[in-house]
């Protein structure tokens, strides 16, 4: 019935606080390792909270080759690293890909916040004239996709979709459409965000940051933890991938996008449920077929409660049968990168029939009464995995991956 090209995931590149590269990342996630620690990138002494999920010991010089590493800010460096890791994982050589049918689709919450922070530092110091061309050249968020494509020489579709904390899923969905519509054969799609004092300040002022750890769905959860990272998935036209003998992680079979149109920062639930339902209809699957949900699961009181209710609305009785975990318990909330990193976890879960845990889960909450895969990874058959992401602005995105059978 489907004459349009199918889209498969053939490579994963991740740069996270628990590991760089897909093997290190997946090993740490299944082991329940936590990447959250004291914030080191700026002074938090004036804040009442002090922890974050920063990527330590990241050296862009190992990844940024064609462009100048110091000619771009951190989110671009993280993105290029994820892109190179993803291509290597897919067994693809950038120089051998057809430039015009290879593209980049990136999600982000903040783009390159360090550039406006530097602007502000100079402005506040009274040295306005010291702000140079680098602000306009390196700050606007579209540089993320531009830097990745320029580094690798890709002339195909090139876009940044800055839909905040759901951006990775939006970027993946768009890239899949680029392939289905015949505009590209290979898309590098995902998200990137750098640790930022602006983001940290904002969530601190919302009272949303947990003081010690991130405990999604736990009765005593105290909030989210800002983090950083990047993930890029190589999406490939299925026939092309099979023809070259590529190893396929999973197939991207559907997505759903909706808007709450209700509140800028508080999730409402109905929009999230509609996104899940649209994604399942798009994929042609029923709730009871979904074997794993990667939750948005930030660890705030309201998100986890509303998200749980939304899954029940979309899944009905099947909600109680579907394991759903949040790897934000280990990474914190990596903003626009989060759903891209979680998409990587979904494709790995589908490939390996292994479910990542929600760590720091201790006390059941009557309002969060689903199976959150507490504390330990689990072996379970996963034919289909759903990746859920929600954002400021009421932006909701669900993406579904299916186990691939040649």
């Amino acid at each position: 019935m489907q004459s349009r090209p199918r889209v498969v995931v053939t490579g994963i590149g991740v740069v996270t606080s628990v590991g760089i590269g897909v093997d290190a990342f997946w090993r740490a996630i299944l082991a329940g390792e936590c990447g959250i620690g004291p914030v080191e990138s700026f002074d938090t002494s004036r804040y009442s909270v002090h922890i974050g999920g920063e990527v330590r010991n990241f050296d862009p010089r190992g990844f940024v080759e064609r462009l100048q590493p110091n000619g771009m800010a951190r989110a671009s460096q993280l993105a290029i690293a994820a892109a190179r890791l993803a291509l290597a994982d897919a067994g693809l050589d950038a120089a051998l890909l057809a430039p015009t049918t290879t593209g980049v689709s990136m999600g982000t919450t903040s783009g390159e916040p360090s550039m406006i922070e530097r602007f502000d530092d100079r402005e506040m110091a009274g040295s306005r004239d010291a702000i140079g061309a680098e602000f306009i050249e390196q700050y606007p968020c579209h540089v993320l996709a531009a830097h990745v494509a320029s580094e690798l020489g890709f002339a195909g579709p090139n876009i940044v979709i800055p839909t905040a904390c759901a951006a990775g899923n939006y970027a993946l969905a768009h890239a899949a459409d680029n392939i289905r519509d015949g505009e590209a054969d290979v898309m590098l799609a995902g998200g990137s965000d750098a640790f930022s004092r602006i983001t940290y300040t904002g969530f601190a002022r919302l009272g949303a940051i947990a003081p010690q750890r991130c405990q999604p769905f736990d009765k005593n959860r105290k909030g989210m933890v800002p983090g950083e990272g990047a993930a890029i998935l190589v999406l490939e036209q299925r026939d092309r991938a099979l023809a070259r003998g590529a190893r396929v992680y999973a197939e991207l079979v559907g997505y759903g996008l909706t808007c709450d149109a209700n509140h800028m920062t508080a999730p409402q639930g109905d929009g999230a449920a509609r996104a899940m339902q649209i994604a399942m209809a798009d994929a042609g699957v029923r709730p009871e077929q979904i074997g794993y949900i990667s939750a948005h699961g930030t660890g705030t009181a309201v998100n986890d409660r509303v998200e749980t209710a939304a899954v029940k609305q979309a899944f009905g009785d099947a909600a109680y049968q579907v394991p759903m975990s949040s790897i934000k318990s280990m990474l914190g909330h990596t903003m626009g990168a989060a759903s891209a990193i979680e998409a990587a976890a979904c494709t790995l879960a589908v490939r390996d029939d292994r479910l990542p845990p929600t760590i720091h889960y201790e006390t059941a909450d009557a309002e969060c009464d689903l199976d959150y895969v507490p504390n330990h990874a689990r072996q379970a058959s996963v034919e289909l995995a759903m990746n859920n992401a929600y954002a400021f602005g009421g932006n909701n995105a669900s993406v579904i991956f299916r186990k691939h059978r040649p």
Partner: protein, 406 residues
């Protein structure tokens, strides 16, 4: 060739320095009315004597009988006014939106870098506890799309697209593909950008602004020496033709085809880069529309006086369509509105198709001999069925959209 759903335009709304109605803006462009004036938004000690194209006396509240626009920043308010006008013009009433979720695809380069910068400086100077949580919700790059969705109850697909100065054209292309692909029957698509100190100072420090003496902005002219910034927003109601006809909507124009391209060599400052990508974007739009270059009556380009970008765009247009294609621009009268520009150019293109009047290129006195196109300062009569809108960004992004008479 798969059968596709034709996409039509059923309404439009816009606001910029030249007015807040498409017909009035087009008329002002045809009359050569300048929107430039001494800035009121930019501190006098930072303007360097430059002129800008602000929306004079902008008061979003005056457009609404009830509700409070205070939660929206300037970009959000510009977007809101243009969206409100689009909803009125396309007759997408509140009742219709309640029955059928309507989505919003918003292109922007910065969303509000003013909101972001002020939030950060407040936290740094007074302490994080003095930063406003309300302002924080507007620091995300999808804030305008989210705020407008709340105000107008837009529950459908809500996506922010950022590709620099190409943002709103790419947003319109994204929307058209979504409708063709059956993911929505109707979407509002366009872009918004405010003028603010941060983006202005960044552009000025990078040498992108025309020197304040003499003639400010001279697109395609041998003596062009930079651009001047403006602000505004423009949106269209894009709709599947069958759905539009079924509800008895007025069909204003047809979205005949879209194309995008990227030149990965522009980030490494290759002076000859980009024109091939412009031509490729145009050729993709023509192919998408199943039209030939000779069918195109005129082009509304993004040229805004940049020594490099005007040449890149003009040479690319000539390569795709020949040297005799009439070309005009809008930025020498209403400024470079960055992420909103493509949508404002589309307003000009559709009104020019409908009225048979093509505005001249204000500020052009001697066409750069390196740019072989038909551009003239005089407004002219033109009979055409198909109009092309193009946009280029310094980083290498390009897009083209073809509109046809209904």
């Amino acid at each position: 060739m798969t059968s596709r759903r034709p996409v039509v335009v059923t309404g439009a709304g816009a606001i910029c320095a030249l007015g807040d109605r498409p017909a009035a803006i087009h008329s002002a462009l045809c009359d050569g009315t300048s929107g430039f004036a001494t800035p009121t938004i930019i501190p006098a000690d930072a303007s360097g004597g430059a002129v800008v194209a602000e929306v004079p006396g902008f008061n979003a509240q005056s457009y609404f009988a009830s509700g409070n626009v205070r939660p929206l920043d300037r970009t959000g308010r510009l977007a809101l006014v243009a969206v409100e006008r689009t909803l009125q013009s396309s007759d997408w009433t509140l009742q219709r939106r309640a029955a059928t979720p309507l989505g919003l695809i918003l292109g922007t380069m910065f969303c509000s870098v003013r909101t972001i910068g002020e939030f950060d400086r407040r936290a740094q100077q007074a302490g994080p506890e003095y930063a406003s949580p309300l302002d924080f919700s507007n620091t995300v790059l999808n804030a305008a799309a989210g705020q407008v969705a709340i105000w107008e109850k837009l529950r459908g697909i809500n996506t922010t697209v950022s590709t620099g100065a190409v943002s709103s054209l790419d947003a319109m292309g994204y929307a058209a593909r979504m409708i063709r692909g059956g993911r929505a029957d109707a979407l509002l698509a366009g872009g918004a950008e405010e003028l603010c100190y941060e983006s202005f100072h960044g552009a000025r420090q990078a040498g992108r602004l025309a020197p304040p003496d003499g003639h400010a902005v001279r697109p395609f002219d041998s003596a062009r020496a930079g651009t001047a910034l403006g602000e505004g927003a423009a949106f269209f109601a894009f709709e599947a033709e069958a759905a539009a006809r079924a509800r008895g909507a007025t069909i204003v124009a047809r979205v005949a085809g879209c194309g995008s391209a990227y030149d990965p060599n522009c980030k490494s400052a290759n002076p000859g880069c980009g024109s091939g990508a412009v031509a490729a974007a145009i050729e993709r739009a023509l192919k998408d529309a199943e039209l030939a270059g000779a069918d195109v009556g005129f082009v509304v380009a993004s040229a805004g006086g940049s020594p490099t970008l005007d040449q890149r765009e003009g040479v690319g247009i000539a390569a795709a369509l020949g040297a005799h294609i009439p070309v005009t621009t809008i930025k020498s009268l209403l400024g470079d509105t960055l992420g909103a520009s493509g949508a404002l150019q589309a307003i000009c293109a559709i009104e020019s198709l409908r009225t048979g009047r093509l505005p001249g290129v204000a500020g052009l006195s001697r066409l750069d001999p390196a740019i072989a196109i038909d551009a003239t300062a005089e407004t002219r009569a033109i009979q055409a069925r198909h109009a092309l809108v193009t946009a280029v960004a310094p980083e290498g992004n390009c897009a083209a959209i073809l509109f046809s008479l209904a």
